[in-house]
Subunit: 264 residues, 2 copies
């Protein structure tokens, strides 16, 4: 390519990830797809995985038919016009409700993410007639770590040194103030999610004003450009050439502590 | 590269954008850098430009020495511990203050963006001793349109057909609920900033739950991976191979109308 000598980075998606079922070994599936495509992971690669296939692999499907809604769920369902069994699942996944209005419930999940419906989703479930919903992974940082460890182990078993990679689990969330969703990080492994520039100077020697950057969220959003939201969704994207802080951080480090959050 | 046959996209930065001064013709400067690097723009390329060089080219520098703070600015400066002249500039750039606390002022700018200090910035000003601040472009959508028109005109003057490109102006903003800043779109040209998936089905035929995606923000965040915040900032990034909705949208289309915004 003509720009190989410029500062650059690239993203590519694995096109043949199969439909994922409970118990599937995502790390092994990704390793197999990389092998099939002739791709060797390199130091600095980031493997970005959508929450949906992680939740499916971890069996985070809930049959609505088996749910008995609580009085609180029935009342909230009445006020918002939602299925009371779905609302019960949302409440079970949440620390509390942040906002409600007809058609919309925003909660804080047990992990601390603030998003619509506690991230509970009905789309991309194999049987469209089944009354099944998909909940977020219980611990997306642990999910990312498992995928990373598995990938590194498989590479090491092949005799190659394990590369220094990161894994990010993403979900698509709405935002305050801005319409439409963006892909964000809800789990990371092998990286710090935030770049800390405090104390660094700008090109003219003045201390930088914006001192922390949510690099994991920028990587997640970039992957969203390829993974998309549409029918042909590509759940695994590799980002090569990006600069990110290596280390053992957690996506929950991105969460703004409630006492410092002016927008709840 | 080994992944050229996979779904992929690439980003590259123009490394030699000179220091920008008021009155500089950014479209011509970018065209000249592209020529120097031997890069021909292609249909679908997105040119992502940081707000800082746009504001500099548009002369959006304010000398604090020339500012007489109003009583309102002096009072807000007292409460937040900020320079009252800076606060005066922030208030002049804003429709209103959304939140304040010691060390922090969040306003709604005249464009409708909600961000710290109305986007007014002291870093990356050439003279670190000068008491000069940089304000956002007056109309970032118009700024993007001017750069796009100029680029297309220069390409057409060279005899080539003008490619179908988009231009995005970005700024780095904090978020509700999540720590650290991400790069976001504050101006666009040649594209719709939001992808509307309403009515589309997922891979199993169920209507998609997340129905709109802020594609311009995902593109801006991706460019942030290269442009960075640090000393060697790269203010112009080209994204090649991304899918985005062509058309004549405005970044202000991303703004959630105040009556639908539950987080102010």
């Amino acid at each position: 390519v003509s720009h190989a000598q410029l500062p650059h980075l690239s993203l590519f998606a694995l096109p043949s990830i199969p439909e994922i079922h409970p118990g599937d070994d995502l790390g092994a599936i990704i390793a197999e797809q990389l092998r099939r495509e002739g791709i060797e992971l390199q130091d600095g690669d980031v493997i970005v995985v959508t929450q949906k296939i992680v939740s499916k692999a971890e069996g985070r499907l809930v049959e609505l038919g088996a749910i008995s809604p609580s009085p609180q769920a029935i009342a909230l369902a009445d006020r918002t016009g939602k299925d009371s069994r779905l609302v019960e699942v949302i409440l079970r996944e949440s620390r509390g409700v942040v906002r409600e209005r007809p058609g919309l419930i925003i909660t804080e999940t047990h992990h601390g993410w603030i998003c619509a419906n506690a991230g509970v989703d009905r789309s991309n479930i194999a049987d469209p007639d089944a009354e099944v919903v998909l909940t977020l992974p219980l611990d997306p940082d642990a999910s990312a770590r498992r995928i990373r460890d598995r990938l590194c182990k498989i590479i090491a078993a092949g005799g190659a040194p394990a590369p220094d990679i990161a894994v990010i689990i993403t979900d698509s969330h709405g935002r305050a103030w801005r319409r439409a969703a963006v892909n964000l990080a809800i789990g990371v492994a092998g990286m710090q999610p935030i770049v800390d520039l405090r104390g660094q100077a700008d090109r003219f020697g003045r201390t930088l004003q914006v001192t922390t950057v949510a690099r994991a969220d920028e990587l997640a959003a970039a992957a969203g450009l390829l993974s998309g939201q549409a029918a042909e969704g590509l759940p695994v994207v590799i980002i090569r050439g990006a600069d990110w802080p290596h280390g053992e951080g957690r996506a929950t480090d991105i969460q703004r502590p409630i006492e410092k959050d002016m927008f709840r």
